[in-house]
Symmetry: C2
């Protein structure tokens, strides 16, 4: 099976765990049987592997997520990088070309496109495999997953099938309705559109060539910025007559708000937290080192990270966005291709961060115009290059770098350092990168 996972952009609805640079699908929040935690993307990837150990998985995403994806899924997963956001049709066209031209998948094969963040059980991916097999048959150009509705939701589009068979031709699509209209649709046998569909690669390649002038994946990638923003629904689905739908009646949740996310959590407390016995339906998700104590609360979610602290009634939590938009704040924590960093102190004229470098990785060779930096190695071993001079470093070593000085560090074992930045103007943008001479 070939599968493309659409990994959406940053969102603030799960602040303080998601923000401008950290997306909800990477939050490690689900407890596994071995007691460790996995993220939405790790859960979905594990489920796909279980449904088909040989599945070719490609994640369609932006450059900013590449580090997190490799950190969480390893380096063998395919990534179709969108140079910029151009809506779903260009993204799916690019991923399709990537499968054919980079992964060398036969364009006669089918692929399933699926969001990266549904909260589902294993049967969902069995159904996904069913879509792929149905697309292989070629009875239709598109095969959609139709989810049996459990309530008249206003949040989803609806699919009206021609009949009640497991696989049926699609009669029509309906936009997100109000509750009353949703009830009428459901009475007529309508299904939720969960944004999952399968097609033969050649089909979307042909559609892409009809709408875009390009030769192959690399050419499409290079001119990606020039493409019009257009959705896959508008460009393809609405113009297509031969569409089938396959029913899915298992559990399916869209964990987009704290309310829905905490419903799916197996336990009340992730991280350091205490609920007293008068708390009712309270969840704590705490990424900080200090404890959260909750007393006498009901239907509340508490989440703490280096970015901030949320305490919200669960229903209210879906209205979070405008409040978070109003918070002006520097990024306090980030995953990078080489590891991660966390701001641990901010003063007028200085900033102190903790840097963790994964074994075998190094940061870019770079300099800063307006700040000096001092590194203190607090764990591990590595090699620094400072203005071309190489030096082995270990715990307790101190490296001082004046503004303008070029520097990098490579971790031999996992390496941690405290970096003190000093200067009147400290900005993330103040960074010049250089190639490293071998």
């Amino acid at each position: 099976m070939n599968i493309v996972l659409l990994s959406g952009g940053s969102g603030k609805r799960l602040w303080p765990l998601s923000n401008d640079i950290r997306s909800k699908q990477f939050i490690k929040i689900f407890k596994k049987e071995d007691g460790t935690y996995e993220s939405m993307v790790q859960r979905v990837y594990r489920q796909i592997r279980k449904a088909d150990a040989n599945a070719i998985v490609t994640i369609a995403t932006s450059k900013t997520q590449v580090s997190s994806i490799h950190n969480q899924l390893g380096s063998s997963v395919g990534i179709s990088i969108e140079p910029c956001r151009r809506d779903t049709f260009p993204a799916i066209a690019l991923a399709t070309a990537y499968l054919v031209d980079v992964m060398h998948v036969d364009p006669k094969e089918s692929v399933v496109v699926c969001p990266v963040d549904p909260y589902v059980e294993q049967d969902y991916f069995e159904a996904v495999r069913g879509l792929s097999e149905q697309a292989d048959k070629g009875e239709a150009n598109l095969v959609l997953m139709g989810i049996e509705p459990t309530y008249p939701s206003e949040k989803y589009g609806y699919i009206i099938p021609e009949n009640e068979e497991h696989t049926s031709m699609v009669k029509s699509f309906k936009e997100k309705p109000d509750v009353k209209t949703a009830e009428e649709y459901i009475a007529k046998g309508a299904l939720w559109n969960g944004g999952v569909f399968a097609y033969k690669l050649q089909y979307v390649l042909d559609k892409a060539h009809e709408l875009i002038d390009f030769t192959d994946y690399q050419d499409l990638f290079d001119k990606y910025e020039t493409l019009n923003k257009i959705s896959f629904d508008y460009a393809v689905v609405e113009k297509e007559d031969k569409i089938q739908v396959q029913r899915f009646s298992g559990q399916w949740k869209d964990l987009g708000t704290w309310n829905t996310l905490t419903e799916a959590m197996g336990e009340k407390v992730v991280g350091k937290g205490i609920l007293n016995d008068t708390c009712e339906d309270v969840h704590i998700i705490n990424e900080m080192d200090v404890p959260v104590l909750a007393m006498g609360l009901k239907d509340v979610v508490i989440s703490a990270s280096p970015e901030g602290i949320l305490v919200s009634d669960k229903e209210q939590s879906s209205y979070i966005k405008p409040y978070v938009d109003g918070i002006e704040q520097q990024i306090m924590f980030a995953e990078k291709s080489w590891g991660s960093y966390q701001v641990i102190d901010v003063e007028n004229g200085s900033m102190t961060i903790k840097v963790t470098l994964n074994a075998g990785h190094s940061m870019n060779y770079h300099s800063h115009k307006n700040r000096d930096e001092i590194w203190v190695v607090i764990a591990g071993e590595g090699t620094t290059i400072v203005d071309g001079m190489k030096q082995n470093v270990k715990v307790g070593d101190v490296i001082t770098m004046c503004a303008g000085c070029r520097h990098t560090i490579r971790a031999v074992t996992e390496l941690k350092l405290v970096e003190v930045q000093l200067g009147k103007e400290i900005h993330a943008e103040d960074k010049q990168k250089y190639p490293l001479e071998k």
Copy 2:
């Protein structure tokens, strides 16, 4: 007017702002007219100065509070340091001897003893001055403040006066009653005992000499550890016939729990915090650098500090103690005589703290057996002494100290440094102090 303020020990009922080393009276939580914040002890001290600019104020407390008192009230306030806790009679005897022998107050003068943390208006300290003046008259040996009850509280002892005059002899005292009994007392004209009383210094000196064998203040101080624990009520009040009470009908609050403390706060948010418009009677007290966002809550207090995060229904907050007792945690923030420190990172084998030294102050000359330390100066100027060698330091300077190396730093201007501690065993107790050769 002479006044002794009894400054009680550490408490956990206002965790995470109070803890083993930080007492509630030092939390800066009350907004002043100029927009800055003051603590309970600062508020009370300011009110006393306003009632009597020449008042001689002595704070009776333990050694651990001396730094905080000097930081918050300056160096001119008198402090009677209890070498250990020995209940209120030894504490009041010691403070009385301190006034006579150290501050050279005439033993014929009177003094008012008062808790350090009542939340009151200016009229309270006018009433305190009234007690002092009444004690001067010598009509009784003790003059108590009797607070007009506003409800039948079970939290206070009651004073039954002989008549309804402003000043009356005391007929009897009653222990903390149940609500029904309290109602009966109040019907009979009983007053709350707020723990405020005045006496002539010689009176308590005589009582002290009756019960304790000592010559003067220094002798009493030196043998303080050998004294029996005994309360002032038991040792003096219960045995005294000539006691007067003066009525006080102004505002008087005991801010011992988050519930009562937030009632007295002039504003809903102290520190970085946002309340959405569906929050009702919610308070945020945030000492951290990151924002707290509260949504859809009612009657809740949220408090965050480097020690932890509390989210509690206000009523429930009075039951906090056993939960906080269960939290094992190192101290993350402390005020010292020379400034303050805050733990900013804890790793296996290292701890990073930020140290702030007040101008003109220095830490002890000391060494550590089992850890190396590295200082990076991030603000200010000062002088280090490392193994006897003196050196001027400024922003960006790095000082490395191996285990065993003696070191100190003196701040010329306010000085801040990042201190990285490295070692397998990092304990606060690992500290040897040395005298500094001039």
